[in-house]
Symmetry: C2
Subunit: 465 residues, 2 copies
């Protein structure tokens, strides 16, 4: 449990030094024709992300805002902004789609909110690879690459609004991780290009393992301007819902499907009743009282998937995946969207992020279910992790208070179910099993000597200058 900081000893939000009004004015003057937004209503609104999933983060981060939004048009602009911020000692927090859940895009010390969404150009697409601006939306990337039979290996449930840069900076995995594992697996980020926060910013290409230095670092280790990502073959995917009388039967079948290497799939998510009762437009396919498995299966594998299922569950939905404009794809009921669907009508819930041990998966799920029958409502996502099939759990938790949430976390950990705590905003405290094995702190000293990049998010960092 050494990685987990109990909530009751967590510090409140730190307040790194803010920039003076003079420094900000000087900075803005230095930016020339780079677009800037100073309207405080807009700046406050865009300084938020989905941290409000957590009542604890909501209390800590609500109201935190940048002083100014700066919207570079290209990497040259990014370098100019970085230089100006270094010169005037103004904090800089990168923001794109703003779909993160841990406050990664919330500036704790004001300063510049760097909106990188204009950096969305596709540099090139090769068979199995793409190089693209960090601000490109993931659904735009897939729309482009699918022409040539490819798509991103994995994406979060927010694919329609999230950017590839934001995913790498804060994600970890998602739809597709049942085949490829998470972003932390070698080969899932091929290269990253970052701009340093120095008076004379450097532009650094991080290839291979080195690219992990920006993975889930919330933008504290350089401003990502471009990414080289591996692509997967793009199958015609079929959205599937299967209803089960018993949640554990649903998990057991999901596990078999996850282990079936002859069946090509992108998503396998068991969701316990009563969570499907909150599923708005999907409710017609969620029979009363039934737990469901939400799946995406490659069309040529659907027959084999049904053969595996047999009569164990009832398939209530089977339709081609469509996440085109105006569509709500099935995956928007999975991963972090499952909790969101419930939050839409019940703001008293929150969630957790768990990693189950692969060698005792079913027993551990049953154990956690029995321990918190009505308080922790099971929602699992099958993934590969270190080459093994297991589950990430994103249960919906009926929230009482921080102390009880902390107890629930401690009880999971005590039973070998690891928690990546989504109720803290620092890289170190929230990462747990999502942590990558690379010296991000050392790299931060190289690229951000004044500690101006998203200050407060990398807790163990102390500015060297």
């Amino acid at each position: 449990m050494t990685d987990v900081s109990p909530l009751d000893v967590l510090p409140g939000p730190i307040s790194p030094n803010r920039a003076s009004t003079q420094a900000l004015a000087a900075l803005i003057a230095d930016l020339g024709d780079i677009p800037v937004v100073t309207d405080s209503t807009i700046v406050r609104r865009r300084s938020r992300d989905f941290f409000w999933y957590s009542p604890i983060l909501n209390e800590q981060l609500n109201g935190k805002a940048a002083d100014v939004i700066v919207a570079p048009r290209d990497e040259v602009d990014v370098v100019r902004v970085a230089a100006a911020c270094a010169r005037h000692r103004v904090p800089l927090t990168v923001r794109a789609g703003g779909t993160g859940n841990y406050g990664q895009a919330v500036p704790l010390a004001g300063g510049v909110l760097l909106d990188i969404t204009a950096l969305d150009a596709i540099e090139w697409i090769r068979p199995g690879q793409i190089r693209v601006g960090a601000g490109a939306k993931m659904n735009a990337i897939d729309a482009e690459t699918q022409h040539s039979g490819f798509e991103l290996r994995m994406h979060p449930s927010t694919k329609r609004t999230a950017t590839i840069g934001g995913f790498v900076a804060g994600g970890s995995g998602g739809i597709g991780s049942i085949s490829y594992g998470g972003l932390r697996e070698r080969g899932n980020i091929l290269a990253a290009r970052v701009v340093t926060l120095e008076p004379e910013p450097r532009v650094i290409e991080l290839r291979g393992d080195a690219a992990q230095k920006v993975n889930r670092a919330y933008g504290t280790t350089g401003i990502i301007t471009a990414l080289e990502m591996p692509l997967a073959p793009s199958w015609p995917w079929i959205d599937v819902v299967v209803a089960f009388d018993d949640f554990m039967d649903c998990v057991e079948f999901g596990f078999e499907a996850a282990l079936a290497d002859g069946i090509v799939k992108k998503l396998l998510a068991p969701v316990t009743w009563p969570l499907p009762s909150y599923f708005g437009a999907l409710k017609s396919w969620c029979p009363e009282g039934k737990s469901i498995l939400i799946a995406m299966i490659a069309e040529p594998s659907l027959e084999s998937f049904k053969a595996l299922l047999g009569r164990r569950g009832v398939m209530t939905l089977q339709t081609p995946t469509d996440d085109g404009p105006g569509k709500v794809p099935l995956y928007e009921y999975t991963w972090n969207h499952t909790t969101l669907q419930v939050l839409k009508s019940d703001r008293t819930v929150t969630y957790l992020q768990c990693l189950y041990p692969h060698d005792r998966l079913l027993a551990k799920v049953a154990e956690m279910r029995a321990m918190f029958p009505d308080e922790v409502l099971q929602h699992l996502e099958f993934i590969r992790f270190n080459g093994q099939v297991t589950c990430s759990g994103l249960p919906v938790v009926r929230y009482r208070d921080a102390q009880r949430l902390n107890e629930i976390i401690a009880l999971h950990e005590a039973h070998d179910v690891h928690i990546a705590n989504p109720h803290v905003y620092t890289v170190e405290d929230g990462s747990r099993y999502k942590r990558v094995d690379v010296d991000q702190l050392g790299f931060k000293h190289e690229v951000d000597p004044y500690g101006l990049l998203n200050p407060g998010k990398m807790r163990s960092f102390t500015a060297s200058r």
Copy 2:
């Protein structure tokens, strides 16, 4: 060890009833214009397969031959031959490429050798699926499907001469099984069409799980005329050889690469020194004294593969896979070809087929290596099996006699390394972990009531009529 028949209690080759000269003459008369070969030299030559890998099978099967070769031009011809064989009670053994290693194509009771290589038409290709005649060569299938970005999920090392029907009837897995598992995994055979051996033959379509009734049954459960197979995305593959000072380092790295879900691969085969010293044309890339890992890596994953390798081994070869006409691809040094490369210059060796337990893989490999340091020369193939990464072992064995071979087998089994014995010719005795979970015997009673299909190969069968 209940599945393993010790060699010392194995029966000699059985001699099912042969057809009379009159019956054969009547049969041939009934065949009309279907091509027939009666030249005994040709018939004898084509009644063989690669059973001579095994000194034991060589003794038992050498000289066994059909009476006549019949070469149907299409399924209608197959039905006519089947009807005639049933009518005249003439045994029928299917033969295609003849690349099997267990005598599956060797007729134990004479009769008809059915050469189905003319049934090679591609019925259709759809994204991710193909329907094709059982006699189609696998390299011809890949050549056709690769136009549209697909290829067979797996193939044996004999891909350039073997047919898809022969692979399904006797194979089990091969190059590609590191990603998709073996043919026995659900989804790896989509459908099979078989002709029954009855006076009025039926043509049966076996879909999904039912198709497993013909998997590794050596043609005893119906004459396969067509197969529907799943296809994999066709990557530009890179042939790679990596040299290691120590074999166990080679295995350990191979295991890591096998578990790396972000690295797309088709082959990972550790081969201990001195086996590479037998590798003919490949020797220039096999440094003296080094064990090697033979691999096929998708081109976009090569950089990640090298990053994983680091300085642990030396990459001596890196070249695009080419199995076009006149080329010897790297995979012809792997799977059953590894042993063949040694047999080319040393006929005193033979081999085994092992399945290592996935949860104690490295320890068990080291244990077997220590137990038979000079007698059992390790050659492993990383595969997925029941959703887990493990190794199939195809070690080259310095052969002393049947008794010692049996001891070696028993010692492996006693240490939880399962052996699918390649020194027996019956489905039951040789299958072990390759056995599929379906009632092949019951199905044989339905489709071959007189027991005329490859008689003697399904030991537990007794003709019902």
